[in-house]
Amino acid sequence: MNDRSFVAAQDFLLSAKTFWTTTLYGAVRDSYADKASSSQDEASASVEAVAEALEDTTLYQFYAWLERHLQRMKYAGRYGLVSYHDERRAAFLDSLDQIESEGRLLELNENLDLPAYYTGVDIHQHPGGVWSDALAGIVYERGARTTTPLLGAAGKDVHERFTDVALGDGAPKTVLDMGCGFGKSTQPFYRRLPDSRIEAVDLAAPCIKLAAGMAQKAQAKNVRFRQMNASNTDYASGSFDLVTSTMVLHELPPKTIGEFLDEAFRVLSPGGRMVNLDFYSLPDAFRRFIHHGHARRNNEPYMGPLAEMDLSALLKSKGFVDVEIVPFKESDDIDLEANESWRFPWTVIAATKPDGCTS
């Protein structure tokens, strides 16, 4: 496939996804509102009641089909990201070879055991997942540019926005980015905090390799990407002033979320803050229904369980204080109440390790 055909096909799919995100989603929302107002109180409805009202309608069936298959076509098939990159494998491998392989920016661990929950499902419908192919990080990065068509449509990029929230007025000397992927979430931290030490860990070698490549290009001197399980790191207790994660919790089974939070608590210095960005705040049954459907269709088996967890109680049971769980606007023009277009239920989940806590 030539470059022009690949871009044309991907552009077509993105336009189709935009139509789905705005027009089709709006039609499904309105169709439910019509049914709910004639039968029961929309505010007190359950996910099951929304399912009862919508799942057998032709409109919703097309909505659901397109959610699954537009994503499938983005990754798989003739014009998919995987074929495109596979046909150019040698050149992409060559670009990865230019990255400083071991040392200051990157530390790989070939012997790392990848958990079964991680290898058992191809998340985001990315064939082979984000870990099994040397090019998986590059494919993931390219795909992530168009996951949500309206993301960052107005104002700053989502990671810059999240960094604003995580840093507030502070300048932590040590930061750990847990489950950093290909390092997009880590970039604003190492760029804005040149005098701080930024560590980032992830399970996927192909992703952190790309992350290190981006840091190398940016001539960053204060960051290191390590292949490591964020729920079980080798950092000494109390090592970090700030621990962050972006879009990681929803990839973890509930038991692992508990271990992840325990580890964040352990490596935080007393008084240190943990700030996560994830998908959690769902104000009504309709959006909850849409979210659970998305999880199933996009190969996200743990997104649903996270949405149903009592995170506030869990964080307090782990010893955290000052727990804050607040909706997050991924773009300037988002009206959280209006529910105009499909969006992820972006939420900041933050908590502090108490002062004087040495455990």
Partner: protein
């Protein structure tokens, strides 16, 4: 680390009849291919116009009556091929209707 190959799993089903799920897949593949061709056609036209081989403005003009008449038979043949299957009629004589071998018994 590489992943061991696994047998394919059945695709998720969204419509009451799974045939619609599958035909939608074929339809979206054709739509994508159609857009890729359209994009390439435009690029080709742009390059040809740049080299002076074609006059883009002439291509955009409404065809005159003689040109439309000339293409009418071809247009009708295209529509015939597209829509004839909707009638559900055989092209070559054979047994009609839906058949099943489920209840066929020898001597019955």
């Amino acid at each position: 680390m590489t992943r061991e190959s696994k047998p394919p799993r059945a695709e998720q089903q969204f419509f009451d009849d799974p045939a619609i799920d599958r035909i939608m897949g074929a339809f979206m593949s054709l739509a994508t291919e159609h857009y890729v061709l359209l994009d390439r056609f435009r690029a080709l036209e742009r390059e040809l116009a740049k080299s002076g081989a074609i006059n883009s403005a002439a291509l955009d003009q409404e065809p005159d009556e003689s040109e439309r008449a000339e293409s009418l038979a071809d247009r009708n043949a295209f529509v015939e091929a597209l829509m004839r299957p909707l009638l559900g009629e055989q092209d070559a004589l054979g047994a009609p209707g839906k058949f099943s071998l489920k209840t066929t018994k020898s001597g019955a």
